[in-house]
Symmetry: C2
C-alpha cells in the first residue's frame, strides 16, 4: 500500500499529529532496548480506545501489518517493526487514562500506556504497590501482553497472577472492543479468555486497559549476600530459607563467579564484599514484610541473621561467608551484572527456566558441554533461581562469534536446556520474533495447531496481513 | 445407541469390571453433594490415561455423551449425568498415579483421581501442603477443572495459581493426549493453553494429570472472632488487617447475624462466644506463618491481639467484642453455617463475588429489595469477604417456595448482583448445568461467541454429541 495514502487515511481516522512518518520521529519507536533496530512505515499513537479500534479495523480491512508497542522495553523483538519498512507501529503510550485506585478492593485500573512507575506513584499514598520488580519501566499493557516476571516472583508471582481484568481490541474489521472480566478476584463463570491475552504478545488483540490486584507495601526489608563454596549448595539453601523464612522470602537470586566478578569490575563504586574475591557462587536473599516493627519484635535483619546462623549449623551449609546488610548495595551488585557482561565482550543471552531441582544438573552438563565445544566462550550465569529462572548468559571475546558459530551455540544450549532438561527457552521475556524459531522447534505440533486455531477465533485478519496476528498461525 | 452394545464396546476397550451399569453401582456416581441426582447410562472408570483416551475417542466417534467426574463433590451439576439416562459418566477416580513430590522444586505431580487429602498426606513429611482449603475432599483433576477457591484464597489464591502443568485428553476421534506445560514456574513461550482448561469444567477436554506448586506448611496459626456492631465496619477492618498483618493474613470471613445464629442453633456443642448473643455481623480473622517461633518473638496469638488492640483505638472500629482464641473452635462456628441453614428451611444458595468495595452497598440494596419483594425469605449471608466472595444464602420457611417464586427470587438476586453491581454469579463453584442459564444471560454475546469458537478448536465432537463439550457452543 502506498505510504502517503496510508498516512492520510490514518490521519483522517485520528488527528494528523497522531501519525508519525518522519525518520527522526520514528527513531525511538524503531530502536529497542537490546536488539537490532527495526524500520516502521509509520507510527500511530491513538489517545483513546476508540482510536485504537478505528486503526485496528482499518488495518485489518486493508491488510496493513500492525505491531503494537508499549514502552518498547522488551528484549525479544516483540514490539518493534521488522526491517521491511512496511509495518505500522501501534503505540499505546498515550492511553494513560484511567489511572484509578480502589484501595478497599486493593486494585487499580489503568490505561495500557500507564507506566509501572506512574502506577506505583499513584499507589504509594495508599500504602500499596504492584510487586512486579523489573529493570525497566514498562507500560502496564506491555506487562500484561508479555506476562512479565521479575525478581520478586518467588513471593508475588508474575503479571498473570495480578491481572483481574482487561479491555482488548480484537483484530477484526470492526476493531471490536471487549471487556474480559472486571475487578473481581473470584469469577468462575466460563472460559477465562483473559488468560489467553496475558503473555500472548498481542497475537490475539491489543490490550487497552488493565485492572490489577496490588499489595501492601513492605515496611521492612532485609537482605543478605551468601558466598558459597559450591554452586550446588544453593538449592539446599533455598529449601532451608523457604522452610524457615516462609512467607517473608521475597527474592532468591543466584550469581556465578564470572557474573559476580563482571559486575564488580564494571562498576568500580561497588566494593567487593568478600575479602577472598568473588566466590564460586553467590546468593542474594531478601526478606520483606508489610508489618511495621512492633515493640518486642526483632528487626527483620536480625531475623535473617538468626535464620542464616541456624543454616550455618546444618551439614549442607557449604558457605565461605555470609553478609547481612542493607538491601540496596547488595542489589546494586546483582543489577550491575548485565552491564558488566556487555563490557566484557559479546553477550549471548538466554532466558532459561527449569524445575528448580534440575538447576544443578543442567549447570554441570552445560559447563561440560560448552567447555568442550565452545572453549572460548565464558559462562556467566545468574538469575532468579528461586523460581527456576536462569539468565544463562555467555560472553564471547570481541569481536564475537561469527553467525554460524552463534547459531551452533544457541542450538547447543537450547537442545540441552529444552530438549534434554525440559526447560523453557523463554522463562520471562516472552515470544517475539527473536524466539519464533525456538517456538517452532520446541512446541509439539498439536499444541501449535491448537494455538493457531485459537488465534483464528480472535482474528479476522488473513495470515501475515497483520504481523503480530500471524504469530501462532503458520502457512499450511 | 443401544445400551448393551455401548456397554460391550466400552468393556472391550477397557476391562469388563471398569464399566458399571447396575443401578446399585451407579447410585453414588449419580448422587451429587447438594443437588438433584442424575441418571447415567453407565459409568466408565479407566485406570490409565490410555484408557481415558480410548473411551474418549470411541465416544466422540459414536456421538455418545460423556460427563467427566472426579470426587463428585461439586455444587453446580457439573459432574453428574442429566436425567435422560443416555449420558456416560467418565469417572477419573482411578487415576491415582503418579503421586510424586519434588521437594526441591516445591511441586507435586498427581493423577487426576488423587484426592486433596491424599496429596496433603504425601506432602506432610516434606513440610509442604497445597493451601486450597475446602469443605470437601475433591480430586486434583476436579479442582483444576473447576478452579476451586476456598477459605485461604486471600493469601494463597485459587487453583489456577497453583497449576504448573496439565495432561489432558482432547474430545477428538483419537482421544489425543496433550501435555500442557511441565513443572516450570516460568515458561513464557506462547499461548498458555493450560489456563483454558483450568475452570473449564471439562468443556475442552478431560484432565488426566495435574502438576501443582505447593507451599511450606504453617507452623503457627492464630485466629480471632470479632463481633461488629455494624456490618459496614467489616471492610475498614479488612483494610486495617491487610496493612498491619500483611503477609500473615490467611483468612477473613464474614458472617451475618442470621448465619451465625443458625450455626449455633444447629450445633449445640458450639458455645456462643459472645455473651450478648449473635452480633449484627461477625468476622473471623486468621493469621498464619510458616516460621517457627524464635526466641524473643511474640507468639502469633499475641501479634494478632496487638493488631486488634491497635484497631480498637481507631475511629472506624465499631466493635462489640473481640475474641482471640484457638482457631479450631472459631472455624467450627463458620463451618457449621451451611448445615445450620439447611436445618432452618429451604436454602436458596448463591455463590456471588464482588469488588470488595461494593460489598456494603450490595448488601444494603439486597436487604432492601428482598425485604420488600420476598418478605418471608431470610437473608443468611456469609463468606470469604476478604476476596469479595459472598455465599449469599437465603432461607425460605418450609415447605419452601414454589418453582415460580424460586425463579423470581433468583432473577431478582442475579439482576442486582450481576446486572447492577457487576458481580459474579459463580465466584468459586464454577459453571455446570446449574449456571448455564446465568452464563447465557450475563455473558456478552461476543465473549460467548469467542468461547464457543475456542471450544470448537479443541473438540471434534458435534454440538450436543458429547455433553460437556457443548457447554460453550450454542446451536445457531
Amino acid at each position: 500500500m502506498n505510504l502517503e495514502r496510508l498516512t492520510a487515511d490514518l490521519q483522517g481516522l485520528l488527528e494528523p499529529e497522531d501519525v508519525l512518518t518522519a525518520q527522526e520521529d520514528l527513531a525511538s519507536y524503531d530502536a529497542p532496548a537490546r536488539y537490532e533496530a527495526g524500520r516502521a512505515a509509520a507510527v500511530v499513537r491513538p489517545r483513546t480506545v476508540d482510536g485504537v479500534s478505528k486503526v485496528m479495523g482499518y488495518c485489518v480491512s486493508r491488510g496493513v501489518r500492525l505491531v503494537p508497542q508499549g514502552a518498547n522495553t522488551g528484549l525479544v523483538a516483540g514490539s518493534t517493526a521488522d526491517g521491511s519498512g512496511t509495518q505500522v507501529v501501534l503505540s499505546l503510550e498515550r492511553l494513560r487514562t484511567p489511572l484509578r485506585v480502589d484501595p478497599a478492593n486493593r486494585t487499580a485500573r489503568v490505561g495500557a500506556g500507564v507506566r509501572l512507575s506512574a502506577l506505583n506513584q499513584a499507589l504509594e499514598p495508599h500504602g500499596l504497590f504492584l510487586p512486579i520488580d523489573l529493570g525497566a519501566d514498562p507500560t502496564l499493557g506491555g506487562m500484561a501482553a508479555t506476562n512479565t516476571g521479575g525478581a520478586r516472583f518467588i513471593r508475588y508471582g508474575d503479571m498473570r497472577r495480578h491481572v483481574l481484568g482487561l479491555q482488548v481490541v480484537l483484530p477484526d474489521r470492526q476493531g471490536s472492543v471487549v471487556e474480559l472480566k472486571g475487578g473481581l478476584r473470584k469469577d468462575n463463570t466460563g472460559l477465562d479468555l483473559r488468560q489467553l491475552f496475558v503473555g500472548s504478545c498481542g497475537a490475539l488483540g491489543v490490550i487497552t486497559e488493565v485492572e490489577v490486584e496490588v499489595h501492601p507495601r513492605p515496611r521492612q526489608t532485609a537482605a543478605a549476600l551468601i558466598a558459597l563454596a559450591n554452586p550446588d549448595a544453593a538449592l539446599p539453601l533455598l529449601q532451608f530459607m523457604e522452610r524457615e523464612a516462609g512467607e517473608l522470602l521475597t527474592a532468591f537470586e543466584g550469581m556465578s563467579r564470572a557474573a559476580f566478578a563482571a559486575a564488580l569490575a564494571h562498576a568500580p563504586a561497588l566494593r567487593n564484599p568478600f575479602p577472598g574475591g568473588p566466590p564460586p557462587y553467590a546468593v542474594l536473599v531478601e526478606l520483606s514484610t508489610a508489618r511495621s516493627p512492633q515493640g518486642g519484635d526483632a528487626p527483620l535483619g536480625q531475623v535473617l541473621e538468626a535464620i542464616l546462623a541456624a543454616w550455618l549449623e546444618t551439614a549442607e551449609a557449604d558457605a565461605i561467608d555470609v553478609l547481612v546488610g542493607a538491601p540496596e548495595p547488595l542489589w546494586a551488585i546483582r543489577h550491575a551484572i548485565s552491564e558488566g557482561l556487555r563490557a566484557k565482550g559479546q553477550v549471548i543471552g538466554f532466558d532459561l527456566a527449569f524445575r528448580r531441582s534440575d538447576l544443578p544438573a543442567f549447570r554441570d552438563a552445560a559447563l561440560d558441554r560448552l567447555g568442550r565445544q565452545f572453549p572460548a566462550v565464558e559462562i556467566c550465569d545468574f538469575g532468579h533461581i528461586g523460581d527456576g529462572g536462569v539468565h544463562f548468559n555467555l560472553v564471547a571475546p570481541r569481536p564475537g562469534l561469527p553467525d554460524a558459530g552463534l547459531k551452533a551455540l544457541r542450538t547447543c544450549v537450547y537442545e540441552l536446556a529444552v530438549g534434554q532438561f525440559g526447560g523453557s527457552f523463554s522463562g520471562e521475556h516472552g515470544l517475539g520474533r527473536a524466539n519464533l524459531e525456538s517456538y517452532r522447534a520446541y512446541t509439539p505440533d498439536l499444541v501449535r495447531e491448537l494455538a493457531g486455531g485459537v488465534q483464528n477465533v480472535f482474528s479476522e485478519a488473513p495470515i501475515g496481513a497483520v504481523d503480530f496476528v500471524g504469530l501462532f498461525r503458520e502457512q499450511a
